[in-house]
């Protein structure tokens, strides 16, 4: 249970860091495929 909560917490933090990184990364994403 705690391990699952830890994994979800990590994903949440990682996604929020990605949101900030996305702002700085914007403009360099041309041609990137999903």
């Amino acid at each position: 249970m705690m391990y699952r909560a830890a994994r979800v917490a990590f994903t949440f933090v990682m996604m929020n860091i990605a949101a900030v990184a996305g702002l700085f990364w914007l403009g360099r994403g041309r041609g990137v495929w999903k």
Binding site: A6, V8, F10, W25, L26
Partner: protein
């Protein structure tokens, strides 16, 4: 500092608790499900399924076969657009060339948005269906998407992307977190659809009326948000259809998921520059939802930092602030534990992947 604390806390709480509760109540009190129905035989709209691909020759034969064999009572065409592929994509499509429903378009490498534009330019169907090479559609996908267009207010339909990690069967080292997030995200989309419109679509499976399509700018990062949101801004609804399913797997690890999220969030910033109308309630019919869901997600990271800073500064003032600081530190410690678990899982998988061929080789000897 107290103002910073309470503003940040309120914003985070609204985005992740207040807005979902508001949405749930709204969807319960004033639901507006689309007036979808099965079309009479011979009256199903014609579909142009557009599959933009770059170097997907290994996946395309199976994918095209999947799209051709799905039950659908109306006419369909599958348009494969190769965006500067160098792996023999044209040859992979060649075996299907004798079939009238298959069309191949080769364009110089220019990115997915331009490939989609090229596909739409040659499409003849009333409804455009967008698909990717990697996923598979389930049997009812096409008819479920199309049936929503019986509602004259519906301009677009997004299907449901189901990830393997949602059922716990994923090999991804970040499957638990992504599965929880994706389940929550789809719940929001389902309810947003019920009150008016989803705020975008799932790139792996969505459909738009061809008459509403506007060519995408080359630099677009999120075609599956920009195109549907333009339809919404023009006064149409984009709805969620959970019977139209595409199956996929989660990103293999945290690094891959972080890259994907970084791109998605960058796209969410970009779209505000591409469509500033989204920020104005007079012209955006889903303004509250957009600000709460999409813009809120862009602000929350900064609010988290502000909340932590304010909590540290205020910790000595009152027990409430001390408690808030302890709670945040506890949460981040939990996240660090999650990061360690993810790293351990990834190493285990790599070791297993390295040893397995050797073991199989020894077995064979």
């Amino acid at each position: 500092m107290e103002l910073l604390f309470w503003t940040s806390a309120a914003l985070i709480a609204y985005v992740y608790v207040g807005y979902p509760l508001l949405l749930a109540a709204w969807a319960r009190l004033a639901p507006r499900p689309p007036q979808k129905h099965q079309f009479p035989a011979g009256h199903w709209p014609s579909l142009s399924i557009i599959l933009a691909a770059r170097n997907e020759s290994a996946r395309l034969p199976v994918r095209i076969a999947n799209l051709l064999t799905l039950p659908y009572d109306g006419p369909r065409e599958v348009i494969v657009v190769s965006d500067g592929s160098t792996d023999g994509t044209a040859e992979a499509v060649a075996p299907f060339a004798s079939r009238n429903e298959i069309r191949f378009v080769g364009v110089p490498s220019g990115g997915k948005p331009l490939a989609l534009n090229a596909g739409v330019a040659v499409a003849t169907g009333t409804i455009l269906v967008f698909a990717d090479a990697r996923q598979r559609f389930t049997a009812r996908a096409l008819s479920a998407l199309a049936s929503n267009f019986a509602d004259p207010q519906v301009g677009g339909v997004t299907g449901e992307l189901i990830l393997d990690c949602e059922s716990g069967s994923s090999a991804s080292s970040i499957g638990d977190g992504v599965g929880a997030y994706w389940t929550y995200e789809k719940w929001l989309r389902r309810n947003e659809s019920l009150v008016r419109s989803t705020l975008g679509a799932t790139g792996a499976i969505y459909a738009l009326r061809r008459s509403l399509w506007r060519p995408l700018p080359a630099e677009t990062l999120l075609d599956d948000v920009l195109a549907p949101m333009r339809v919404v801004l023009d006064g149409w609804r984009v709805v969620f259809e959970d019977q139209a399913i595409a199956m996929d797997r989660a990103a293999p690890d945290a690094a891959a998921e972080a890259r994907r999220k970084r791109r998605t969030l960058a796209g969410n910033y970009q779209i505000l520059a591409q469509e500033p109308r989204l920020l104005f309630p007079i012209v955006n019919p889903v303004w509250l939802q957009y600000m709460s869901h999409k813009v809120g997600r862009l602000i929350v990271p900064w609010a988290l930092v502000a909340l932590l800073v304010a909590s540290i500064a205020l910790a000595d003032d009152r027990w409430l602030y001390s408690l808030a600081l302890v709670a945040q530190l506890g949460f981040y410690a939990l996240a660090v534990l999650g990061a360690r678990l993810e790293a351990r899982d990834r190493q285990t998988e790599q070791r297993f992947a390295t040893k397995l061929p050797v073991a199989i080789g020894k077995e064979a000897q």
